[in-house]
């Protein structure tokens, strides 16, 4: 049996766990790899014009799996930390794929909401295992193994690698070394993992910065526990998980020594981001005053435009740093 997992959205955060879980149960996992022009085009064509870019990209990836797999795995992840929920588009994701696209493979859409025990993480995996006719013992074993892999993944992330690299490390045994050269700048790039780490939609911001010999840190490189302790300084609780995480990460990096600048990458058409970005700016104004820039990416963000803006920002930070000294 083949199960398809679109390489978009949650992929960047939970894929290692899903992959191991399914493979342990003897299911072949098919992914879609890097976003391509074709995928983006088909996503743009099929998804609602008013949707945000990441959702269009997800549609594109899902379409690429049409006819190639027996099931699509699109869990309905509602809440994982007992506090915040995911953006409404995540809550309706399986339904949008099921009802918004024609002739798609059946969708496995188990609900994960650990605010109530019935829908907790383990129960969700257990339910999926049952659907695949696995024995309870096998499910538990697969689940534990999946969890261990996820922990390993997080450890590699904590060391400063980005999700796609970390997946290479744990699944393909690749080795990366990041040696920080003296005098090098360090930037924090905050935003949603599925926007930052999809080199196609982010127009390779991470790579570009590295080429300008800037070391890049993302919220994924901060242990989740540490992030949860950060105050994000907006009076009311942010109730979307990824948005809150972005706010906290921005606050954390602004305080942490050794970070020379913060870039907020926002997705074109993203509802929550319009609010997050303002909050980051306001917080930054009242506090750190660390150089800040926000970059909006869309279907047509040109390589050149983003490159120039990044260069200008790097120059500005360099000048400021020299001035400080």
């Amino acid at each position: 049996m083949r199960i398809g997992i679109p390489s978009a959205l949650f992929y960047y955060v939970y894929f290692p766990m899903w992959k191991v879980f399914f493979e342990e149960l003897g299911v072949q996992v098919i992914t879609t790899g890097k976003t391509t022009r074709r995928m983006l085009d088909s996503g743009v064509r099929e998804a609602l014009a008013d949707a945000c870019v990441p959702i269009k990209v997800f549609f594109g990836h899902a379409l690429a799996l049409k006819g190639k797999v027996d099931f699509l795995f699109i869990p309905r992840i509602v809440c994982l930390n007992k506090k915040t929920v995911y953006c409404p588009k995540f809550l309706g994701l399986p339904d949008m794929i099921r009802h918004g696209l024609a002739d798609m493979p059946p969708v496995i859409d188990v609900r994960i909401d650990n605010r109530d025990r019935k829908n907790g993480i383990f129960s969700a995996y257990y339910a999926v295992g049952k659907m695949l006719n696995a024995s309870p013992l096998n499910i538990i074993r697969a689940y534990l193994k999946a969890r261990l892999t996820q922990l390993k993944f997080q450890r590699v992330l904590n060391s400063g690698l980005q999700p796609l690299e970390a997946m290479d490390v744990i699944f393909k045994g690749k080795k990366y070394q990041s040696v920080k050269q003296p005098g090098q700048l360090t930037f924090a790039l905050v935003g949603y993992p599925y926007a930052i780490h999809d080199p196609y939609i982010s127009v390779g911001v991470v790579e570009k910065l590295r080429q300008m010999s800037v070391q890049v840190l993302t919220p994924d490189n901060v242990p989740p526990g540490k992030l949860n302790w950060q105050k994000h300084g907006s009076g009311k609780r942010m109730f979307w998980t990824f948005s809150e995480r972005t706010l906290r990460a921005a606050a954390y990096f602004a305080r942490r020594s050794g970070v020379d600048g913060i870039i907020h990458l926002t997705a074109f058409g993203c509802g929550p981001d319009s609010i997050v970005d303002r909050f980051i700016r306001f917080n930054n104004k009242n506090g750190g005053n660390i150089p800040f820039m926000s970059l909006t990416i869309d279907e047509h963000s040109g390589e050149a435009g983003i490159g120039t803006r990044l260069e200008a920002f790097v120059d500005m930070v360099k000048r400021k740093k020299r001035g400080d000294r």
Binding site: L48, R111, I275
Partner: protein, 370 residues
């Protein structure tokens, strides 16, 4: 001196003015949102903020110009952006140098203390609890009267003989309700208004289409934000039923008229089992119920970048096919023009009319009426 203001939502301001006055506040009436309101709002909010947030921003800036320094609004908890509006508005207004006070009402059941504290703040007359409850009850009744009269116009307008008669009468009778103060007066004004509307000469033979309106609450309730779509439709000979009013959803209606007695939530379940915030699930459930009640079509109104309505629209594609009910969606923002909207509406109404005339069960009906 504290001068209190609040968001503009359709005709509801008439009620809120009365209530706040009763509690002893000086009230600055929010003007009906205009081009200027939109411009002010757009200039001072993030680009992808939702449309209601922009309009409210514009309204607040206008009322601040008029001297308001206390803003009363609602909060609400996730999972949608509306819950964060007040916070963002406050930060932006303070940043612009307007030290306004924001009084944010959260759902009283979840935050009883917040509710009591806020009422206390807005009660400089120091009325007793009992008197306050009386005031709220009276205000609620007025709100109901306003809603009932508005509903009547939806039915009468498509049938009026003289174009514009309903709108003209409506404007007149609104003032009657506005002036009514005691509960008795409110009820009398409401009755008089309904009778006055009923006196408008109508054409009983006309083939009137029925269209349900679903979508996000603010753009449904504020005609200035949806370019008076209900009036336009009425003039095109369409009776509209809106799925949402401040005094409650049209639940009673739907219960009676659908055979199965489905709730909106249950109806939506096969398509969207999750509450996604905003009114996304209601849009889907109501569309299904309208179809079961043999409506001719559904119009969905959503603010540009509205997250739940985008999800709903994606799913409505299937609903529309499965239930054979045409759905037209408008994503509204400051650039939506009335001419463009009217053209799309005319085409939609044409389609519905042709569909209705072709439907087998309607042949008899039309044959007998013509």
């Amino acid at each position: 001196m504290r001068k209190v203001t609040f968001p503009h939502m359709g005709e509801s301001y008439r009620t809120f003015k009365m209530l706040l006055n009763d509690l002893g506040n000086e009230v600055i009436l929010p003007p009906r949102p205009s081009r200027r309101t939109l411009n002010l709002g757009v200039q001072n909010t993030p680009e992808f903020a939702c449309f209601p947030l922009k309009i409210l921003m514009g309204t607040y800036l206008e009322t601040i110009e008029m001297g308001a320094n206390v803003i009363v609004t609602s909060g609400g908890v996730g999972p949608c952006r509306a819950g964060l509006y007040a916070e963002l508005h406050k930060k932006i207004l303070h940043d612009l140098g307007h030290p306004v006070e924001m009084i944010v009402f959260e759902p009283p059941r979840l935050y009883p203390f917040n509710f009591i504290r806020n009422v206390y703040k807005l009660n400089p007359c120091r009325l007793s609890i009992k008197a306050i409850i009386e005031c709220i009850k009276r205000a609620w009744r007025k709100l109901q009267a306003l809603d009932n009269v508005e509903k009547a116009t939806h039915i009468i307008r498509p049938r009026e003989l003289k174009p514009g008669a309903t709108t003209k009468t409506y404007k007149k009778v609104l003032e009657w309700i506005d002036k009514a103060y005691t509960t008795r007066e409110i009820i009398d004004a409401e009755t008089a208004a309904l009778i006055e509307l009923d006196n408008i000469p109508r054409d009983p033979e006309r083939l009137v289409l029925k269209v349900g309106i679903v979508g996000e609450i603010y753009v449904l309730l504020e005609p200035a934000s949806n370019l008076e779509i209900e009036e336009t439709l009425g003039n095109l000979g369409v009776e509209v039923e809106r799925s949402m009013f401040l005094t409650g959803w049209t639940r009673d209606n739907t219960w009676k008229e659908t055979v199965e007695g489905l709730t909106v939530k249950d109806a939506a379940k096969p398509y969207l089992p999750e509450l996604i915030g905003g009114h996304g699930r209601d849009s889907i459930g109501n569309t299904i119920l309208y179809s079961k009640r043999n409506f001719d079509g559904v119009i969905q109104l959503a603010p540009f970048t509205c997250i739940p309505e985008i999800v709903a629209r994606t799913i409505l594609t299937s609903v529309s096919r499965d239930y054979n009910i045409p759905v037209l969606t408008f994503f509204l923002d400051e650039q939506t023009g009335k001419a463009g909207m009217t053209t799309r509406l005319e085409a939609f109404v044409d389609l519905l009319r042709r569909k209705k005339l072709q439907a087998p069960d309607n042949k008899l009906l039309t044959a007998s009426t013509f």
